[in-house]
Symmetry: D3
């Protein structure tokens, strides 16, 4: 369970000793993610996706991002031919759920890999630097880290940065009904760097 401000996400990792068809007999493993929100995680109740009969576009986009991010921080050959599914379920949401899911998902992944190492199923640690993510945006003209929900919905520019130690895995900056400059982008990236170092410290503490 990761808590970033008032955003609480329950992250778990489940191991299966088989991989998707396209990796069979490749010697490589896989990490994938699923994401969901409880109907009442938000201020006003959302419709349950299972009852709507499909996952919305936003859900699909987010779970692809989480999976991609976690895969960038692991040596899939070193993992061996097994799959780890990381489930991220938002219990309470106040902005930045996808970033909290990536950061918390890495903790679940770290603990799952530790078990494999301890059991001797994997001999060399396949995980690289911790993967962590922060959201930031330009709100009322100012770059802001960790937008909460009211800020997020009014921010004209909204970004997510996923880092793996000093390296970048994913940069998404998106203007809704607005635009931004390269200078503003650089300011946001500086903020993100700072935010991520604090998260990494917390991740290492949680998995020590």
């Amino acid at each position: 369970m990761i808590k970033v401000g008032d955003t609480h996400v329950l992250c778990t990792a489940s191991l299966e000793e088989r991989v998707p068809p396209f990796l069979r007999n490749s010697g490589k493993g896989w990490v994938t993610a699923e994401y969901g929100m409880l109907p009442r995680s938000t201020g006003s109740r959302m419709r349950r996706e299972a009852s709507a009969g499909k996952q919305g576009g936003r859900t699909v986009e987010i779970q692809r991002l989480i999976g991609r991010s976690l895969r960038a921080g692991i040596d899939l050959v070193g993992l061996g031919e097994r799959q780890i599914t990381v489930d991220c379920d938002v219990i309470q949401a106040d902005g930045g759920t996808r970033c909290a899911a990536i950061t918390g998902g890495w903790v679940a992944l770290r603990l799952a890999v530790n078990k494999l190492l301890k059991a001797g199923d994997v001999t060399t640690d396949p995980l690289l630097d911790p993967v962590a993510a922060v959201s930031c945006g330009i709100y009322a003209g100012q770059p802001v880290l960790d937008l909460d929900y009211p800020e997020d919905s009014e921010a004209g520019v909204d970004g997510n940065f996923v880092l793996c130690g000093p390296k970048l895995i994913e940069v998404q900056m998106s203007a809704e009904g607005s635009t931004f400059t390269r200078d503003q982008m650089n300011e946001l990236m500086d903020l993100a760097d700072k935010g991520v170092s604090e998260l990494v410290a917390a991740q290492l503490k949680a998995t020590a």
Copy 2:
């Protein structure tokens, strides 16, 4: 959040100032329920229903039961033309999730109705006696209360009892690959009576 043994269910109630089409202009309100399990609430990961694209038969059956049970314990005319949706999400499961969901769902309903009373939107308390449910079964020839998961899956006879004070709302007894007698049924009902009184005490404490 209700915890019965190792079963943890998060129950919330959401109010809407409108009712389903069949009740419009009837002066009556409605209580409905939705139920879900997080993929990793069980020992081995279950498939996420939102990604499977539909709710399974078991989920539909359970959420109909929860809604029916809670409606039996409330005066829908007294509630007025509004709908309360009770969401029950299983965070961790070890048997008896439907009973925990009913018992915890009543607590969420009680708190939601208290708010309406306090705000003066409802003037007379529409809730009757507390609604609570227990599961029991015949395991290794013996009547047992609150089967945990290993017992539940081996029990030949499995029952759920929903009570509203001294009255019954729902009795379900079901033999899987087995049968039972009327005497056994009566023994289970005695057990259920006892189990429910303890739950009601806890419900009243939680909503005092």
Copy 3:
């Protein structure tokens, strides 16, 4: 084709020489059921489920009940590794369709098993006592057997009892917007016992 009052249900049994995946190489067979209503089986036309694109919750609940009930009355090991699917299609409905489906479904199952016995594919009769079901309820304060549709929709308490000879397989009692006492429950069970004996006589005659 079973006719109980104005309820007519067409029941057929289809044999397949293979079982669902979870039973492969277990030496055990399986009995499953599907249930449907013709759109015009009721007074006003219902929407066709195939055109709605899915089976409703009620349909799923009923076909699970039919399957569970028939399985309780058969020795699945004695059946051998084969599956019998019982289809119950309501041609005309006037209350109690699920009970008529179970009672008629057993007749179809009996005839299918007779064929297997005659062909020598099964050597010992795997069927135990006949499985039959009745619905009853409390209508205008009185326990009533075999509610017809107008009674059923106004009854505050509604029950289904599935028996296999003197033993019980399933008891479902459910109050909609109402409650009931244990005494009332016992009265209904006495009524059910009487109703089932008449059905069993008819079943034995039909399969003699």
Copy 4:
């Protein structure tokens, strides 16, 4: 219930006092049809479409044909702004189910219109000549009327003719892995004419 050889189809007509959106306030009525087969209407059990979650292409094609055929034999303005839904459910199938459905569907439609005439809701009979249909094909080099199922599945050329009195409503001739000549087509049409006159006699008798 129409029986043509061993093909039995249950046809019913349901009236609604409203029309599809595209006809609102047009003064015109509508006739539509739905078609289904019980899973065990055929020699080996078919999958239930409601459980498959959608109607197959063949079902959709057939119900469009039935609707189109019945509409060609009725004056929709004379019917007034109301809709008649004709349900055709195949109880037992042995070839030619779509033709039996059209022929029997017209009988159901005739009876429904008779009721409207009797009640004075419609003042002039909107039905034209009876609509009836026959299937025929070329089997073992010979034109044959009313192919039964074994003939149908081996026939290289397969045709359906829908007539309304002496006029044609629909001609479908289709070669599966084969071809045919104009002469053969004419021979089949002569056969169809003869077949339809017998059906019309039966229709008139059933609705007299």
Copy 5:
């Protein structure tokens, strides 16, 4: 890309070295077709079927017709155990898209088979005479070839003829809210014969 008047259809053929399950180890090949319309191929935008979540009845009917027609003009044994999928996507529509799809689909099929012959994978040409199709109808009392969209939507009688050289593969004549006589049908077939010979000349030129 076939252009018939203002109707433009993009036809492609894709080869797979495997056949549907019912043909495995039969030595026979298969030809199947899929059909789609771009949302803006028509005057006013249609809803995209992928976003609606299913193919409409009309689409399913048309792609079955295309597949059936192309299969009638090929020796499936001669093709060998492989499958050719013909995709027909309507870029711009002005009536007669299904006929254009068949005629253009045959060109794509011809070119795909030529490749197989050239590569030596197939040794004898399995294609029979060219398969081509025309639509015609009775518009304002006159038989007309190649109805364009405004004619088509007002024509009371509407036909599609698929020919393979001098032989017929499929005849569909359908009256919407109208009827027709055998004489009219024969006139339309004469027109169709003439129309098809022009198409065949164009097909042979395109594949020479």
Copy 6:
């Protein structure tokens, strides 16, 4: 029809005089996009989404990006309460289809708005600078503009940049099984700036 290298995308804009529910009576318009690929636009045939019964996650993600990008370059209040749907259908794909769709989609949008201006339905041009997009990536260690398909599938880092004149609308950089540095990101952005100016010149020429 926009052609960037061997990628061909057909873009059209359709106008409706109504807006989605959340904008009714707001005085604001809306721009949305749909995206599709013909099954044979790629080297090996892809499954048709309409026949699969849903749009894949990639399709949903792309059409959300196109809509968001085009909306950032238009004054929705100036457009007035109407909706423009931009359809982007990939006829032939060789990398960078989402960027080609945005760039071509803007041309379709420009032409549609020109019509509204000419008809006097909109009095002030609501479109800001042209919106154009390029893909680039790091391939074999080198920053490359407009990756073609073979490059794209091997590039460890892959980026999409959407610009509106000198301003940024969207930056997406994503590492698949790899990471990147801020310096590399800056190099890619310089490349993108250059690429976009060429596209804008072509856009202005096409809509002059």
